[in-house]
């Protein structure tokens, strides 16, 4: 049993030991190379210039040998540069700012709930308890069709919402980047729950008159993590098509999926999901290198669908009255934790500095061989990343991840504030969080960002971005008018 160290002086000493250890292991190559170089230099000095010249003359070099070695070097260099994956740049992105008239304060939401579910006071009580503890604010927005008593979820209204969200985001993206619609080579739209014919990507192509040889994709049914899946798809496509632009649109259309029944597990999404969307421009053109905001470093996707419990965790089905809704099981957090662990295991070796990986390896070996009772070492991801964007799925998700990854309040501030201001906007919430960090002026060149998203299935996807240039405030985005009010203290329970 390792001894506890209650003394402050002891823990300070431990901190310095840790720092020294990290510096040593992370720069081991430099630290070994430098003595060797110094040794060679001293040796050279000792030999003196005459001896070096005679050494040089004694080497006989044939023309053939010189040519062959030159070709070999050029060949290896070419193979290296050809097989290196293309760098994917995130030029810029735009988030949808919902109109103020779509605002839903708590009081209005609860009144509507009472009027619509007047025969089920228990369901209404349940919704009120969820709303009180949800971490949402008074400025989240629902689409206009849901404001009616009772809501009017027609297909026309759903298309209207899709047009409002997607076209606003795309217009903002065009004006920010100066992109011309004819220059888009790849278009990926992801919206999990609304999938009309023709698809939403066809709707975008129709509105902006995009080229006829565009590569368009429409991903539906993939849940809140579909945003990162689209980024992954865009990256793969950009490897194959040189010199191209890809636009990714992530959104969630709420109108057709507002649950109108009484089943409690299915009423939960009504309380949390809100209107939102984002449009992202990715490119592999070298000319974008100067003005791109981020560079995509890694995308790691983990799918736990093979496990039955994980598969049924978020399930769309009909309730006893035949009304369709998405039911969330009670073991959602546990499964999310499992999926996260799985994702981290793959992600760790890619991003963690050598010091953390070594510690983890040693603890792992120790647990396997010596004593299984040793506590597993949780690598300190704060050394690998400066910023964290955790999908704002709900207060519980953010709390759980903060605990598991041992993050500070500042690290999860972007996620909490996005949940408060915009609610759970599903796949686009990661972009609102990134916009928050930028609007606060915290994004500097070289900063690494980790975006984590969870989704039905059960999936856990991560993306790692590296900031390409420092981003100056004020940033034009959805936080422009309210960033000064944040961060806000969000009480545990809001009294309604």
């Amino acid at each position: 049993m390792p001894p506890t160290l209650p003394d402050f002086s002891n823990s300070v000493k431990l901190k310095y030991v840790k720092l020294g250890y990290q510096y040593l292991v992370n720069h081991i190559l430099t630290l070994t190379l430098i003595p060797i170089m110094i040794a060679i230099f001293i040796e050279v000095l000792r030999l003196g210039p005459d001896e070096i010249l005679s050494l040089w003359n004694s080497l006989h070099f044939d023309l053939v040998q010189i040519l062959c070695s030159a070709f070999l070097i050029i060949f290896i260099a070419t193979v290296y540069f050809m097989s290196k994956p293309r760098t994917i740049y995130l030029v810029d992105y735009a988030c949808f700012k919902p109109p103020v008239t779509c605002r839903v304060p708590f009081a209005t939401f609860m009144e509507h709930s009472r009027l619509i579910l007047k025969n089920n006071p228990k369901s209404v009580e349940f919704q009120m308890r969820i709303l009180e503890r949800s971490g949402l604010g008074e400025e989240t927005c629902l689409p206009p069709a849901i404001h009616y008593i009772p809501p009017k979820p027609t297909m026309e209204e759903a298309r209207g919402e899709a047009q409002l969200v997607i076209f606003s985001a795309m217009d903002a993206l065009f004006s920010k980047t100066g992109l011309k619609p004819k220059d888009i080579d790849i278009l990926i739209v992801n919206c999990s729950l609304f999938s009309p014919t023709p698809s939403l990507s066809a709707m975008v192509i129709n509105k902006y008159k995009l080229r006829s040889n565009i590569k368009s994709f429409n991903l539906s049914g993939m849940g809140c993590s579909a945003g990162l899946i689209s980024i992954d798809l865009a990256r793969d496509l950009l490897q194959v098509h040189p010199n191209s632009n890809a636009v990714v649109v992530s959104t969630e259309i709420i109108t057709p999926n507002y649950y109108q029944g009484n089943e409690r597990a299915m009423l939960l999404p009504n309380c949390l999901f809100r209107m939102g969307g984002a449009a992202i421009l990715l490119s592999n053109r070298r000319s974008e290198r100067k003005r791109a905001k981020y560079r995509l470093v890694h995308v790691v996707r983990t799918h736990k669908g093979g496990d039955d419990k994980a598969y049924r965790c978020v399930f769309e089905e009909e309730d006893k009255e035949g009304k369709v809704g998405i039911s969330l099981q009670k073991d959602l957090m546990a499964i999310a934790g499992e999926a996260l662990k799985s994702n981290i295991t793959t992600m760790g070796p890619l991003v963690l500095p050598a010091s953390e990986q070594l510690l983890f390896l040693l603890t792992l070996i120790g647990r396997k061989i010596f004593n299984p009772k040793w506590k597993p070492y949780i690598p300190d991801f704060k050394q690998a990343f400066e910023h964290f964007c955790i999908h704002a799925g709900g207060r519980a998700v953010i709390d759980e991840l903060q605990k598991n990854l041992q993050l500070s309040t500042e690290h999860v501030e972007a996620s909490r504030m996005t949940l408060h201001r915009f609610g759970n906007t599903s796949s686009s919430s990661l972009w609102y969080e990134l916009s928050y960090i930028e609007s606060k002026g915290r994004m500097k060149k070289g900063d690494r960002v980790w975006q984590i998203a969870f989704g039905s299935g059960f999936k856990c996807n991560s993306a790692v971005w590296k900031c390409n240039r420092s981003i100056k405030i004020p940033v034009d985005g959805p936080w422009a008018d309210c960033i000064d009010r944040y961060p806000v203290h969000i009480p545990e329970i809001v009294k309604l």
Binding site: P105, M110, E111, H112, L193, S195, P196, P256, V324
Partner: protein, 490 residues
């Protein structure tokens, strides 16, 4: 992959055309886009009426309200608990025709903007420690009903009656749990062939007719220029008077007596059917009426018209030479109390009119005018403040309805509703007002006339039992002033 959750049918609400607020909910196939109309039984009026489709939603302000704000209601406010006001304004475009539905959207937007300045309107009722009503400013919003009607607004106005007009303004009586009950309702009815009707209804607890009209004006100002010409004032009713500790101060009792007696009388629930007719008096005729009063001192158009209706209605109800019916008048006391007209809340006071001179059975028109002017002059700030003090202290735990017994003549002339001009050139062409429910002898509301008729023109909205209304239209005295009938009996 289709959207599996879309149902083939949707719910629609069939609202009673009788304006009682009763509704049925029916399933309708989504593809069926025509409006449903059924003759169904409305238990509140106890007969079959025509139901049409309408959509209801809640509109909230654009800025969030800080939590924890409360607004107390004055004694005058609380006394009017059982009444509600309905205001209908008809608009015609002066510009080019706009697409149906677009107008509603823009109006909702401007309403949202305006509600930021009226946190009380979007709040909800709750009780304070003494059991009195107060408003919790919880940002819940105002209910808005969007409806479409066939025909044009002029066509509608040509055949207007009470039942039809009340279809244009939605109202729901206070719920058992008033915390979820919206105190204000706005109905936006677009006419398919042109025109718009905005129906505003509100509980009398929060606003009197002056405030309701100011509300419309503020909304119109915001939609035009995003700025209110006269922003509303929310403050406790009596700013002075606090600190007067004169124990020898004897309150003037006339107003107090009137209120006391109406509290003591029970609310009568007679089964009679009431109807409302509306008569427009041109400026010339109002002048003639004022001259017919034959007094040397100046009289107001209200005094003249109120006396006119008093005498005519007494004839209709009691017959010739049988004296006058009991009447009380209702006036806006803002000016008298020195409060700005933009004060939002109740500031209208009722007072009984007594015949002071002459033969009680053989009243002439000039004598009636003098009696009314006399009572109006006696409603000064001292007496009104005594009344309010009495109401606060003696307690009004069981508010009654002031228009429950006597004939009531109310002056709604403080704010001109025709000044509420909305964006895109929507000008009001007709305004109606109701103070419901009317259960006594009847009610006469004197409103300003339409623009273009001159500042003296007036419109009188008379709510009476049906048989009396018919007789009133044929009355000689009234016909002398050739009113234009804007709304007939059914």
């Amino acid at each position: 992959m289709g959207d599996k959750k879309k149902k083939a049918q949707m719910f629609v609400k069939l609202v009673s055309a009788a304006g009682t607020g009763f509704f049925y909910v029916k399933r309708k196939p989504r593809q069926f886009t025509e409006k449903l109309e059924f003759r169904k039984f409305d238990p509140r009026v106890n007969r079959h009426v025509l139901f049409t489709e309408a959509k209801m939603k809640t509109v909230v302000s654009t800025k969030a309200v800080e939590p924890g704000k409360y607004f107390p209601l004055s004694a005058l406010d609380r006394h009017m608990e059982n009444n509600h006001i309905r205001l209908v304004c008809y608009y015609q475009y002066s510009g080019e025709a706009v697409e149906l539905g677009e107008v509603t959207k823009k109006l909702r937007h401007s309403l949202s903007e305006m509600l930021t300045h009226f946190p009380i309107v979007s709040g909800r009722l709750t009780r304070d420690e003494r059991g009195h009503w107060k408003i919790k400013c919880n940002d819940a919003g105002v209910r808005v009903v969007e409806a479409k009607a066939k025909g044009s607004v002029e066509g509608w106005l040509a055949n207007l009656d009470r039942e039809k007009e009340l279809q244009l303004v939605h109202w729901e009586d206070m719920f058992h749990k008033p915390y979820y009950w919206s105190t204000f309702y706005v109905q936006l009815t677009e006419f398919e062939e042109g025109g718009l009707a905005i129906g505003l209804s509100c509980g009398h607890l929060l606003a009197d007719s002056t405030s309701a009209t100011s509300f419309m004006k503020a909304w119109a100002d915001i939609s035009m220029a995003n700025k209110m010409v006269t922003p509303p004032l929310f403050h406790p009713l009596l700013l002075t008077r606090q600190g007067i500790t004169n124990p020898n101060h004897h309150p003037h009792m006339e107003l107090i007596h009137h209120y006391k007696s109406s509290i003591q009388k029970p609310i009568s629930l007679k089964e009679a059917r009431y109807t409302t007719i509306s008569m427009g008096f041109s400026a010339h005729m109002v002048q003639a009426c004022m001259s017919a009063a034959q007094t040397n001192s100046p009289i107001t158009p209200f005094a003249a018209l109120a006396a006119l209706f008093w005498v005519s209605l007494s004839k209709v109800k009691k017959g010739l030479r049988n004296g006058l019916v009991d009447m009380s008048i209702c006036l806006d006391m803002r000016k008298v109390l020195g409060i700005d007209v933009a004060f939002f809340g109740n500031c209208m006071v009722y007072n009984k009119v007594h015949a002071v001179e002459g033969d009680t059975n053989n009243f002439t028109f000039p004598q009636a005018v003098r009696a009314i002017s006399h009572v109006v002059a006696k409603m000064d700030s001292e007496r009104v403040m005594d009344l309010i003090d009495w109401l606060e202290n003696e307690g009004v735990n069981s508010p009654t309805m002031m228009n429950n017994h006597d004939l009531v003549c109310a002056s709604l002339e403080s704010v001109d509703p025709y000044l509420a001009v909305f964006q895109d050139g929507f000008k009001p062409i007709h305004v109606s007002c109701y103070v419901e429910p009317v259960l006594g002898e009847g009610q006469v509301l004197i409103l300003p006339g339409p623009p273009g008729e001159g500042p003296l023109s007036r419109v009188a909205m008379v709510t009476l039992r049906e048989e009396e209304a018919i007789k009133l239209c044929e009355d000689e005295l009234i016909s002398q002033f050739s009113p234009t009938t804007m709304m007939k009996c059914q």
